[in-house]
Amino acid sequence: MPDSLLSLEGLTKRYAVTVLDDVDFDLQGGEIHALLGSNGAGKSTLCRIIAGLTPPTSGSMRLDGQVYSPSGKQEAEHSGVQIVQQELCLIPTLSVAENMMLSRMPQRLGIIKQGELRQQARIALDRVELGEIDPDLPAGKLGVGRQQLVEIATALDRQCRILILDEPTSSLSGGEAENLFRWLDRLRDEGIGIIYISHRLDEVAQLADRVTILRDGRHVCTQYTEGLSTDEMVGLMTGESPAQHSAESFRSYRTDRVALRAENFSHDQVVRNVSFHVHEGERFGIAGLVGAGRSELLRLVFGADSADSGSLRLGDSGSPLRFNHPHEAVDAGLAMVTEDRKSNGLLLPLSIRFNASIASLASRFSRGGLVRRRAENETVSDVAHQLDLRCRDLEQATVTLSGGNQQKVAIAKWLVRKADIFFFDEPTRGIDVASRRRIYRLIESLAAEGKAIVIVSSDLDELLETCDRIAVMSAGRMVATFSRGDWSVDRIMQAAFSEHMGKTA
């Protein structure tokens, strides 16, 4: 296509392995072009090459028919290519305005013109309907979703002809995402080419004009979105036919024995007098809006934060107790797969083996204070095999794994520990479809073994698919609990909003 805004030919990127293999791609002005593929398929690498963050090993790029080979991010930006990456890049201690204008501060003799700075930021924010954000606020005080929006606003404020968004909605609320989609529609009308990466297929179906699907670094196909179902997209990404997934039926392993009963947990106004229980073999979901206090509840029960009130009982017997430190919870057989692998789930620079065994060293792999290396290696290797962990060897640093495989390591840690009660906080956030399936199957097999499982997820489909019961939290309270069979998306969503509607009505 000669009139493409951007066209890539035979793009290849090799590190030790080939991450992109002879990929062709083209982007028209005025289209939203989604890039789909499981983690490790090469989407992010492709975008990084386009944005000048990394050079290709071979292949050529043309922008407006001219050869385009940016030497760095700045040159790419100069050519009108903007990227908003998945990780937040704002400097938390600088104000929103300073962050937005960082590379082009209005100044005289090196002294920042505060008034102009604020005004320009204000204009840029207003343009994308973020009028309520105070440009003087330190960026770190904003929620994660807001920070993401500010980054996108910043990219839009620069002269841009190609906008690359890598998972922009992963931390946005429904309303914020809707807002974003409206801007994107407007940008498309202005003739800007948008490359959009997301794991949320419904979003892609709704938003994108075309999709390009990558698998293992190769170009699978480029198709118009119209007439392409999300099931078909999954099929193209995984190389499996859609029937394999939709035919999956739910099987319950719930027993009558209560594994954990939590009573009257409260903390500040974030968690308000919440009680719940979970049976052995049961998968118990907690749904709710972002900020409803679900993760906080798990952290309180696990002893990671100290509760104002609340107690719990394990099994049928026992007196009420409360954990003051996670080590007490872990000793009692609890496990928590945290939401944020980077900050508190994994020791990213360290090896798979190190991470998988760390929670069990004292209980399983210690003899007189020495690490029993052979037992450690054997056990970790078994569990890695069981989880279908994709890695070169167990000494590989976890930071080099894809998101899905990192999550498997985080889970492996607790399988090695032989925990009885599992808390999963957003178990599949940012994880590709194939790994997600693998994790659902794993959770199911844990339930089959009689483990009690609590899952917090913002992805309602995930809970609907995996859980025996779903409780709903709204503004810190647990407002409803539904059993499989008598729930509906409508009723769950109504419950999730219930505490918010009461105030206005």
Binding site: P349, L350, I358
Partner: protein, 319 residues
């Protein structure tokens, strides 16, 4: 498995051993006296204090801390030794435990305050640097305590092997420290704590006891260093080992220990100590002035760290 372990270890130490060899060759060519047994015996008997401190410092750096008070702790421990032996007439064997315990007590203070009150160890140990130095002067009334031959035996070469008990103690500390770090549950926890303390907590491990123990160990090693330092001079000097914390940090950094925590190797730190010692001795032998020695030593530290950074980048790329 075994084989890759061995290869990994060889690669890890090859760079440092290579640098050491090159230095020895250079000085060997530059000075006809350098390549003689006497030189190496002198180096071996000179380095125990710095080695002991570098072992402790490596452990502290691995958990993401730092101990600036090692020099003062050494001096205070030495002062206790000096007062007990010179003024009170205690025997060496009775005094050594007191000397080591003094160091351990300083370490306990550092560890307990920085870990329990969550104050950066940089600041707590900076305070300790002053406190212990002041205490040293109080204990000794700012006098140098002459002990004499009863303590000198620690630094005298043992007949037949030419090495002093002090050197053997330091060598044992190096091997023990590396064993602790690489083979024990305790060592694993230390590396984990230095990498990401919050992830350690969420894995159900209480990090505080381990962190505090590391500071206590570092203090106790300073106490031992106080003994070897004193035995070299046969006197307890209230102004002993000023600035040794920087040499110890330099040795660790040359050995590739990260100041950010989570990465460190005691044997590498020991090789760092050797590099510094060979450099000092060699430069002195070829007649360099003290200022030139300082400039060159500083330059070598920077170059060593640059090389290490390059090595890390290279192995990252290979991954």
């Amino acid at each position: 498995m075994k084989r890759t372990d061995a290869v990994r270890a060889a690669v890890q130490y090859a760079g440092l051993v290579g640098v050491l060899m090159i230095l020895i060759l250079i000085f060997g060519f530059a000075s006809e006296n350098f390549l003689k047994a006497a030189t190496f015996v002198s180096i071996a008997n000179q380095i125990p204090d710095l080695t002991l401190i570098a072992v402790g410092m490596t452990l502290v750096l691995v958990i993401g801390g730092i101990d600036l008070s090692v020099g003062s702790t050494l001096a205070l421990s030495a002062a206790v030794l000096g007062v007990l032996m010179a003024d009170r007439g205690w025997s060496l064997w009775a005094s050594i435990p007191c000397c080591v315990l003094t160091g351990a007590a300083c370490g306990l203070f550092n560890g307990a305050v920085s870990v329990l009150a969550r104050i950066p160890s940089f600041i707590v140990t900076l305070g300790m640097l002053e406190i212990a130095r002041g205490a040293t002067k109080v204990v000794t009334q700012s006098q140098t305590k002459y002990i004499g031959s009863s303590v000198e035996i620690v630094s005298e070469p043992i007949a037949g092997i030419l090495l002093s008990p002090a050197f053997l103690i330091a060598l044992a500390a190096v091997l023990g420290g590396q064993f602790l770090l690489s083979r024990t549950v305790f060592g694993r926890y230390c590396i984990a704590i230095g990498t990401n303390e919050e992830a350690v907590r969420m894995s159900g491990i209480r990090s505080a006891p381990y962190s505090i123990t590391v500071f206590v160990l570092c203090g106790a090693l300073c106490g031992l260093a106080g003994l070897t330092y004193t035995s070299k001079l046969s006197t307890a000097d209230p102004n002993a080992a000023i600035g040794i914390e920087l040499s110890a940090i330099a040795a660790c950094v040359i050995g590739g220990t990260s100041l950010m925590g989570g990465r460190g190797n005691v044997i590498s730190s020991f090789l760092g100590v050797l590099i510094i010692a060979v450099l000092q001795t060699g430069l002195a032998q070829i007649g360099m002035t003290d200022p030139m020695k300082q400039i060159i030593t500083g330059g070598v530290i920077v170059v060593a760290v640059l090389l290490d950074a390059a090595r890390m980048r290279w192995s990252d790329r290979k991954r």
